[in-house]
Assembly symmetry: D2
Homo-oligomer: 369 residues x 4
Amino acid sequence: MATPHLPARKLRVGILGATGTVGQRFIVLLETHPVFTVHALGASPRSAGKLYQEAVRWKMAQPFSPVVGSLVVNECRPELFHDCDVVFSGLDSSVAREVETAFVRADLPVFSNARNHRMGEYVPLVVPTANPEHLDVIQHQRKQLQLRRGFLVTNANCSTTGLVVALRALQDAFGPLSQVMVQTMQAISGAGYPGVSSLDIIDNVMPLISGEEEKMETEALKILGGLQPGATGFRPLTETQVSAMCNRVAVVDGHMECVAVKFSQQPAPSPEQVQQVLADYTTDAQTLGCYSAAKETIVVATEPDRPQPRLDRENHNGYAVTVGRVRRCPALDVKFTLLVHNTILGAAGSGILNAEIALAKGLLVPLDS
Amino acid sequence: MATPHLPARKLRVGILGATGTVGQRFIVLLETHPVFTVHALGASPRSAGKLYQEAVRWKMAQPFSPVVGSLVVNECRPELFHDCDVVFSGLDSSVAREVETAFVRADLPVFSNARNHRMGEYVPLVVPTANPEHLDVIQHQRKQLQLRRGFLVTNANCSTTGLVVALRALQDAFGPLSQVMVQTMQAISGAGYPGVSSLDIIDNVMPLISGEEEKMETEALKILGGLQPGATGFRPLTETQVSAMCNRVAVVDGHMECVAVKFSQQPAPSPEQVQQVLADYTTDAQTLGCYSAAKETIVVATEPDRPQPRLDRENHNGYAVTVGRVRRCPALDVKFTLLVHNTILGAAGSGILNAEIALAKGLLVPLDS
Amino acid sequence: MATPHLPARKLRVGILGATGTVGQRFIVLLETHPVFTVHALGASPRSAGKLYQEAVRWKMAQPFSPVVGSLVVNECRPELFHDCDVVFSGLDSSVAREVETAFVRADLPVFSNARNHRMGEYVPLVVPTANPEHLDVIQHQRKQLQLRRGFLVTNANCSTTGLVVALRALQDAFGPLSQVMVQTMQAISGAGYPGVSSLDIIDNVMPLISGEEEKMETEALKILGGLQPGATGFRPLTETQVSAMCNRVAVVDGHMECVAVKFSQQPAPSPEQVQQVLADYTTDAQTLGCYSAAKETIVVATEPDRPQPRLDRENHNGYAVTVGRVRRCPALDVKFTLLVHNTILGAAGSGILNAEIALAKGLLVPLDS
Amino acid sequence: MATPHLPARKLRVGILGATGTVGQRFIVLLETHPVFTVHALGASPRSAGKLYQEAVRWKMAQPFSPVVGSLVVNECRPELFHDCDVVFSGLDSSVAREVETAFVRADLPVFSNARNHRMGEYVPLVVPTANPEHLDVIQHQRKQLQLRRGFLVTNANCSTTGLVVALRALQDAFGPLSQVMVQTMQAISGAGYPGVSSLDIIDNVMPLISGEEEKMETEALKILGGLQPGATGFRPLTETQVSAMCNRVAVVDGHMECVAVKFSQQPAPSPEQVQQVLADYTTDAQTLGCYSAAKETIVVATEPDRPQPRLDRENHNGYAVTVGRVRRCPALDVKFTLLVHNTILGAAGSGILNAEIALAKGLLVPLDS
């Protein structure tokens, strides 16, 4: 592993949507970060002007620091974030499109968790441990938008994130997949606060998460696809069919996914080979020495009843994907169960790790440097 | 619908495993039944000799009647049940094989929920609203075992039950299925009492239910298969591949299943055609006028976020299967979500409805008739 | 028990707030009622003009009938309910004061579950199995408001309801109480839909239900107090101190309450005497032969681990209060645990049973009679 | 705060009951401890001889280290722990009495979480942030039992622990309490694994925890009482009446307690005074500079809806008690809600912090020193 590349000073971070569930997770993850420091917070006009500790309804198990608590919340206007080295957006999709566009036009580097721009022609949709090479399109994006240091990078939907990490490992080792069936049991924190009504989820399962299946089926193909020559755009997969069935269950954090895959090349690899490849999988995040990178990108659980959300979601601080129960599938080729922490690697953590990779690659450039 | 055929007197019922979860459900369902009356209760030697109200740790939301409460619990020996017209077994699999064999040899008609004999060569494995015609093998079984009125009929595993009702409807209408992927989110009551530890299921999902996937993948093929000529045995499906991924979630009653199917005949039917066929599906249970038969074998929910366990498990008193979200599958052909009440249609209710069908068909014969 | 007094025809019922949680419970309870029939539904302007089945987000486990589903929802204006014999209000407190006032002024008999008028000078606050004699103030109210057949009767807060049933039994038998400590563990359905956020209640307890403690501490004194001479008003208790600590827990239906009491008269009764008095307690609701009255007003559970919400909330169709664990209190005199179904006896059921009593007493008069 | 007194080398720790819930928590807390190091593990004969990683069904969210995982589990015989500086017991009460007696007789210093010896005449029952001065009875115990370095110290029941920390603060400031009413909502982890059946707790509350109320009512009086002259024994409170009502709710970790108190001295302090005293409360654990001591012994939450188990149980790594909602009680004097992490301060953490205090006081003496 490379020695981590630490910049001369901590990078000043702006967080948009700072009072929301994803915004709160950004703050928790950044409070002790060696490279980034929380510098400016943006939220709705209703919160603007208040101290953060007055504006937020904090729902994390870890407290925020007094320093963050006494920051004054801003409206989400780029001129109020001009001295930020990097901006993380946890904005709600109802406002993200417009706000993020304004920030990028103001030449700010933005890592967004919102869904609005994910399928944009020049917008990298990056799961840091699945397709970090897509960050290279930043240069082309800058040209198109005539930016100097600004750009927009999005990360994927939370349940897509866990899936593609495992699929990328398989695709790299065994060639293209022809069919992917995935069924999710997703945590309530994915819906924000107040989010899921308790009457909908106690002693119950919700068999619909609006728009989620479409996101998984679409985003996965872009993420797992290649780049246009010269990194001038994306070539989504066409040979892989992804089918998703998404459910909400009474779990606080951690999305479980039952996955079955069919390989294009036959005979298919054995479950043992699949398991080995998943366990061995490493990515740029590790080789570049990124601070938040999990020591194991994929933790392969060997106990027969794992992964479990409560026991495994914090593996490697929530930046790992945990896979278990790798076995033969009577209908497709191989099936397994995976778990991703939906608000760490599945949301805020992806943004942060994407930024760490971009910094290591020289794509994210601190101000005055 | 036929006028229900009521016998001259109520049939006296023996219940084996009467203090367990399935036994308790038998009692709840039979307390108000117009054809069957609870007559004798069997349980472990530890309970034998006690009044039922002293022996049982009752976990149902409905109370039992004083009449049942003051029955004396017997050991599970056939001579203590000789005056029963029919015996329902909710025995644990650790003892069911031996006990049920003894009861059948004593010429008692037994409907068993235990898994032990399900795959037996002459033993019908019957989901009442999927393959009631398999009951016809009773005659052959009697010949083989030299019985006059006794027999053994089993019902299926709870999660298999919900699945095959829908699959049978599709198979009848559109011909054989080539692939079935099913992923379950199963209720805790399926594991009995004390069953699932609360530490394993609160804020958690258990990705393994030991033996459950194998049961689904095997039992479904027998149930959906045909009979040997002359109803002398079974011809399990060979052309259909069933793949199951089973999980336990924090729901009290009601198993949810995400199902995707591929049809042998192409082009495949549309989701609309599938939905229509499911809604129109009727079975012998209805045409024979059985008391417990659901008015709709399959309830097709049209709201986009149904079925849900808490809201739909009691549909038609728990004897219906509820299906929703029928839609195209990008990987196979069609996918949908179904719900079955795991301790009613998925366990005790199957036994009772099987008995009602057998009675209507003249296969179950009351004593002294 | 008296023969129930059935009117010549079913009384036509209007339901205000029909799409809300309490309104839905009114509909479930009235669908099979022998005396009342659902005739008109009122809701917010947003729902008005729609069929009920289109306007409602139904969250009950029992379905509504097609007849109710095809009723057109009205705005909550009295002229649209002029042909109702009686009106039940499940309105939210944000609008209940004004709407209910308009209905009463239009000479309609209104039974309200809203909190707004509960402490009104001439407004009976009636828990049907605690203080039905307070209904006699209806005559005085009519005089004050110059009404012919209209009136306003309120029922109590859900957690107050369970408490006062037990306290009234004790007060009748043993004289005034000096101190009452009550701590609640309340179900999520009490907060309506969407109500409690799942992030606030899964793997959690909420130690605050806004305004609830104040309601319990105040309403109980009015309910348990006497009447002014001539039934011209109320005399709230002054000698009893009630202290409430209210919490929300992850239960769908059924409020649990841990109660400790100190009697004014010493020596205090023994736990055995208290238990006997609770078990023997009967009220007008039973002696008048009211249809919905529980056969036992208070069910005294003798198992040491009861009452439990899931197992006991449906006792006598949710119209009973269940009490258990009656024992000596080292600090006060006697303590016990009670359970009330918060949306049946604790809300809609109180309104319905109050109406049944008022009808039996000749206080509720059908139109054209 | 004193500079923490670090011994020359880490103290070797033996853990009895190492595979149980409390044993697992000891391991989690000790893995990163600067003073103690896990040296020997004891469990039932069934586990003895196996590697820890094979013997344990690990249920903690944090993993154990490979070093601990590869320790060989011993039977709980003192000669197998002779080289331990200190022994922590998380044994089940069914075996703790005998085993712990043998260990103490073998001159080993034992800190036990089991209930068996808590009320023993010479056995300190110590909540480290409530009555650390009770440790001084160790000297007298040694004399009585003719021990050189061995002794037995117990910590309290989990729900007692949270309560007495707050009560001690009040008692120190305002003099004796005359009445204490406490009602608990306790987490499932308190019952171990498998412990509470999920059928008993999902959509439910259990109103009985066998023996728990008696423990709270008895242990609190010993803990809050004084010492005999010369620290030769205990003088339990006689002037305080404690009444407990204990319930189990669907929470993984963290016991909530609703507490109401009456002071002997009147007029009673105001809620504001009580709150201030709780916030200012410090103990020997802090002044002696113990590593595990919380920076705030009692965290006073000022938000109106706190404490909450999910958000506050980890305050100061689970070693703090969190109090909120301090307000006037209409029946007694003052009431409030408190939260204690039942397996950290409420179990294993108490043992560890007691050991740290005993070490700082020179009562726990490392081998060969």
